[in-house]
């Protein structure tokens, strides 16, 4: 990882001159700030960085980064970014999306991006609500959620974004949260190192329409009970090390370390294990603490690399046909 003092530009230079227009107190501010502080140290030149977003509150993000950027249309950022990477593979591309943008209107593009494994990073700001349109339930809102468009409670079963990403064979899957800057920066740095599509779900508080949705994961008093910080090669511990998770076959169980269990009995986090990653992604109800960190990573050739390899191979075996030969084709005749 690049040392901070090797930063190619400053955090201030990473910010554009545009006035940031999220609601005061919105979790987006924290994510923007961490991005602006992390990105100069990634060893990438500012001109080689591109942010591509769709539509929604989070999708205003590119306007605030002093890099290349595109605020595209609702749900389509993964496809725009894929096209960009195919023709300009050296760029560092960051897709900024939200739960509505990425999982509802753009759900199709997201899963296809993940299976193709284009080398870019997807930051999905999950606030479990439609903010920009003023508060309708989203595909990650809990069932029964009462909003203006669901006065009697939402009937939609919510998506589990990480399980969805793993189901689409994503090669890098992580979760972090707006209120933990250190963790957020760490995940951003790690995702940048991954070659392939990095999928990062960021819990983001919408303090206007869905305030406190993730309070139990950020509130100092509650979070110890409710979160597990995943660390490579370390046991799954929570509640200040008093509790842990062990695997009984494929069944996870919460165990109390004060009741005769030791760290040796616990599930050791291995982000290369797809089965375990899937089990972790199902820690999605109140029975288990919510995991944060890198759930899964895998080395798989990325799409644009393979595309370029095919092109090089074709050039090698067929030679680069000259335009005249191409226009002439295989069968031509002369009239004289």
């Amino acid at each position: 990882m690049t040392e901070p003092n090797s930063a190619l530009f400053t955090a201030k230079e990473a910010a554009s001159d545009q006035e940031v227009r999220w609601c005061p107190g919105c979790g987006d501010y924290s994510i923007l700030k961490q991005m602006q502080s992390v990105i100069p140290g990634l060893g990438i030149k500012r001109e080689d960085i591109v942010f591509i977003s769709g539509i929604g509150c989070s999708s205003r993000f590119p306007y605030y980064m002093n890099t290349y950027g595109m605020h595209s249309i609702h749900g389509r950022a993964p496809a725009v970014a894929s096209g960009l990477k195919m023709v300009n593979p050296n760029l560092s591309v960051w897709v900024i999306t939200g739960d509505g943008d990425g999982l509802s209107i753009g759900g199709n593009h997201l899963i296809h991006l993940l299976r193709r494994n284009v080398n870019l990073n997807v930051l999905l700001f999950n606030n479990e609500i439609y903010g920009l349109t003023k508060g309708q339930y989203s595909p990650t809102s809990e069932m029964g959620k009462r909003t203006k468009s669901s006065p009697m409670g939402s009937l939609d079963h919510p998506f589990n974004p990480l399980a969805l990403a793993l189901g689409a064979d994503a090669t890098f899957v992580a979760r972090t949260i707006d209120r933990d800057p250190v963790h957020l920066r760490g995940v951003l740095e790690t995702s940048n190192l991954h070659k392939g599509t990095s999928f990062i779900e960021i819990y983001q508080n919408c303090n206007v329409f869905n305030d406190g949705a993730f309070l139990s994961y950020s509130d100092k008093k509650q979070k110890g009970q409710h979160i597990i910080l995943l660390e490579e090669g370390k046991p799954l511990l929570f509640d200040e090390g008093n509790k842990g998770i062990r695997l009984n076959g494929l069944k996870p169980e919460i165990v109390n370390l004060e009741e005769g269990f030791s760290a040796n009995d616990l599930w050791i986090h291995d982000s290369r294990d797809a089965t375990k990653a899937y089990i972790l992604s199902r820690f999605f109800d109140d029975n288990f603490p919510r995991p944060f960190g890198v759930f899964y990573q895998e080395d798989r050739p990325c799409y644009e690399e393979q595309l370029i390899a095919q092109i090089n191979h074709a050039k090698e075996i067929q030679g680069e046909t000259d335009l005249d030969d191409l226009l002439r084709g295989k069968r031509s005749w002369t009239v004289d």
Partner: protein, 609 residues
């Protein structure tokens, strides 16, 4: 046996979709092209991939019109019908010219085939053919099996070469050499010696059969007076693909083609995917929306970005095209039109997406629209669409259609060095770069990610003049709408002068066409002129913006007739823009115009006057 000289012949090959009709047709085409005739072809595919064998719905057709004179269309009513079964005969006999030649496989008229073709089992369609037709009822199946009897192939495999028998017979009838097809077969079946042997024998057997039967007249069609030069045969979709490749080469850009499979546009994707050795990047996207938006990403990234589709796909791309317009990035959108609305008639042709191309977006979003008018013209139209897109920083819609996409004609291909270079306004450094600052043509410059110092953000929100920063300011929006409109209108400044194709420069009637109607109108107006009617012909390639000199041309005629394969679309534009008396001749049958249909209309209009 006498040999008659003809100046023009139209042959229609027809059979079940498993009978190898397209292959026989394309072989006849290649041979005919090499013999020096001008020609035009039109395949007629069944609507279903595998309609029930032997039924009329399952008939596949291939028509070729060739001659020693200039050929403008695949021909109206054929002179010759080759029918491999009863269904093919039933479907196509009504179109055959009175007194025409019929070559049929009599084995395809047994009870079963009659039933499948929905004939009464006791009917005798062959015997019922009126006397004036010249009928070759040949038991091709039996003769072919006989010729292959010592081969170890099963009889089904042997029957697969019936198409070559029929083709051989037609080659004999039209005094053609077998050489082109022999070499083709040798290359195609190199790894299957038995199949190769079967096909070679079938072809020769068909030819020899013609030689052995008595009292047959043969025909000769002398080479056409073609312009000197080197030719190849090409379909519209191939020509579109090559035009895009050439434009990429001439602009020094990489070609990116994002597309989702759809009839009848998929062949462009197939053709481009075969040219990876020229660095062409094709992307089969997850849907039409990803196809267009991946092209937007590729354009942002500095490529010649293209997406191709047909009508229903255009509908899905609408929002993406609007974004490309708003961003003012170059992109070509190819719509190979088919019968609509909705899923419509996927394998049939129509020109009914013109208004969609012109108006099918939210907001004020004028986009240049250009239309190709023949298979070979798809090359120059695609090249021109790319030139306008790149030099004027705008998405451009190229309209072709199923008819010209699948038809073929000889193409006097250009030398690469004769193609003009394309100069996109790429900016490499500018200390005061403003992404939406414009030149005198209202064109902004193109800063490609990776270029130091030109970092900028763009998006679908309204932008401030010059800076491109988000702006909701009222006067700015009005100014931006106008400047984007003006930019598109200024494109017409580069157009060549509009020239009449034929006829007087003023008079009672001008026939105005666009797209695939060119050939049929040309033949119709030629005949009208021969008959002493004062009719002129003009054909539009540029539909938005319209040519600046069009108004003056139109105003010199009392009436404008616009034949269109739709219910009247260009006619609305012409009336709206020029307030002239314009009338449509519509045809919405999934088939191209016949010259006679247009001629008849011309006569009714000019004689009424």
């Amino acid at each position: 046996m006498n040999t008659q000289s003809l100046s023009k012949v139209t042959i229609h090959f027809a059979g079940d979709s498993g009978d190898g009709i397209q292959l026989a047709g394309s072989q006849f085409t290649n041979t005919t092209a090499l013999a020096g005739n001008d020609l035009s072809t039109f395949p007629d595919f069944p609507a279903e991939i595998r309609a029930p064998i032997g039924t009329v719905a399952g008939v596949s057709g291939f028509q070729i019109n060739f001659g020693s004179e200039k050929i403008h269309t695949p021909g109206g009513r054929p002179d010759v019908l080759v029918a491999m079964n009863a269904a093919a005969f039933k479907k196509n006999f009504p179109n055959l010219k009175s007194g025409g030649i019929i070559v049929l496989d009599s084995a395809g008229f047994d009870k079963k085939n009659l039933r499948l073709a929905a004939y009464d089992e006791s009917s005798t369609p062959i015997e019922d053919i009126p006397k004036e037709y010249q009928v070759y009822a040949v038991d091709i199946t039996k003769l072919n099996r006989e010729a292959l009897k010592d081969l170890s192939l099963g009889s089904r495999d042997k029957d697969r070469s019936r198409n070559m028998f029929a083709l051989g017979f037609i080659y004999f009838l039209y005094s053609r050499s077998l050489q082109t097809t022999l070499s083709f077969l040798e290359a195609k079946f190199k790894s299957k010696p038995e199949v190769l042997e079967a096909n070679l024998r079938a072809l020769n057997a068909g030819y020899n059969y013609g030689d052995t039967i008595e009292a047959i007249s043969r025909f000769k069609v002398a080479p056409a007076q073609m312009e000197k030069g080197e030719y190849r045969n090409i379909t519209g979709n191939q020509a579109t693909a090559l035009g895009l490749i050439a434009a990429a080469a001439k602009s020094g850009l990489e070609l990116f083609y994002g597309s989702y499979p759809i009839t009848p546009a998929s062949d462009i994707l197939h053709e481009l995917a075969a040219h990876k050795n020229r660095g062409v990047k094709t992307f089969q996207a997850e849907d039409e929306i990803a196809a267009v938006t991946s092209a937007i990403g590729a354009s942002f990234g500095g490529a010649l970005a293209v997406t191709g589709t047909s009508g229903p796909g255009m509908a899905l791309k609408t929002e993406g095209i609007g974004l490309a317009f708003m961003l003012e990035i170059p992109m070509v959108i190819v719509n190979v039109q088919r019968g609509g609305p909705s899923t419509g008639l996927p394998t049939k042709t129509e020109q009914s997406d013109l208004l969609q191309a012109l108006y099918g977006r939210n907001g004020e979003a004028p986009i240049p629209v250009i239309a190709a008018n023949s298979p070979a013209d798809c090359f120059s139209s695609a090249f021109e669409a790319a030139r306008i897109a790149l030099e004027h920083m705008t998405p451009v819609i190229l309209l072709t259609d199923g008819y010209i996409a699948n038809s073929s004609e000889p193409w006097k291909f250009p030398q690469a060095s004769s193609l003009a270079s394309i100069n996109p306004p790429i900016v490499k450094n500018d200390a005061h770069y403003l992404p939406y600052k414009r030149d005198e043509r209202e064109v902004r410059s193109w800063a490609i990610p990776g270029t130091p110092g030109l970092e900028h953000r763009l998006g679908g929100l309204e932008k401030e003049l010059e800076t491109g920063n988000v702006s909701y300011e009222a006067d700015n929006h009005q100014a931006m709408v106008k400047v984007r409109d003006r930019k598109v209108r200024l494109i017409a400044k580069d157009y060549p002068v509009q020239k009449l194709i034929q006829g007087p420069s003023s008079g009672p009637l001008l026939v105005l066409g666009w797209g695939n109607t060119l050939g049929a109108i040309q033949v119709a107006v030629e005949h009208a002129l021969e008959q002493g009617l004062a009719v002129a012909q003009l054909h539009l390639k540029y539909i938005n913006p319209l040519p600046e000199d069009l108004g003056a041309i139109l105003s010199a005629y009392e009436k404008i007739l616009i034949p269109e394969l739709n219910y009247g679309q260009l006619v609305r534009i012409i009336r709206d823009q020029y307030l002239v008396e314009a009338e449509v001749l519509d045809k919405i049958k999934g088939q191209p115009f016949l010259a006679e249909e247009i001629l008849e209309k011309i006569k009714s209009l000019v004689e009424n006057d």
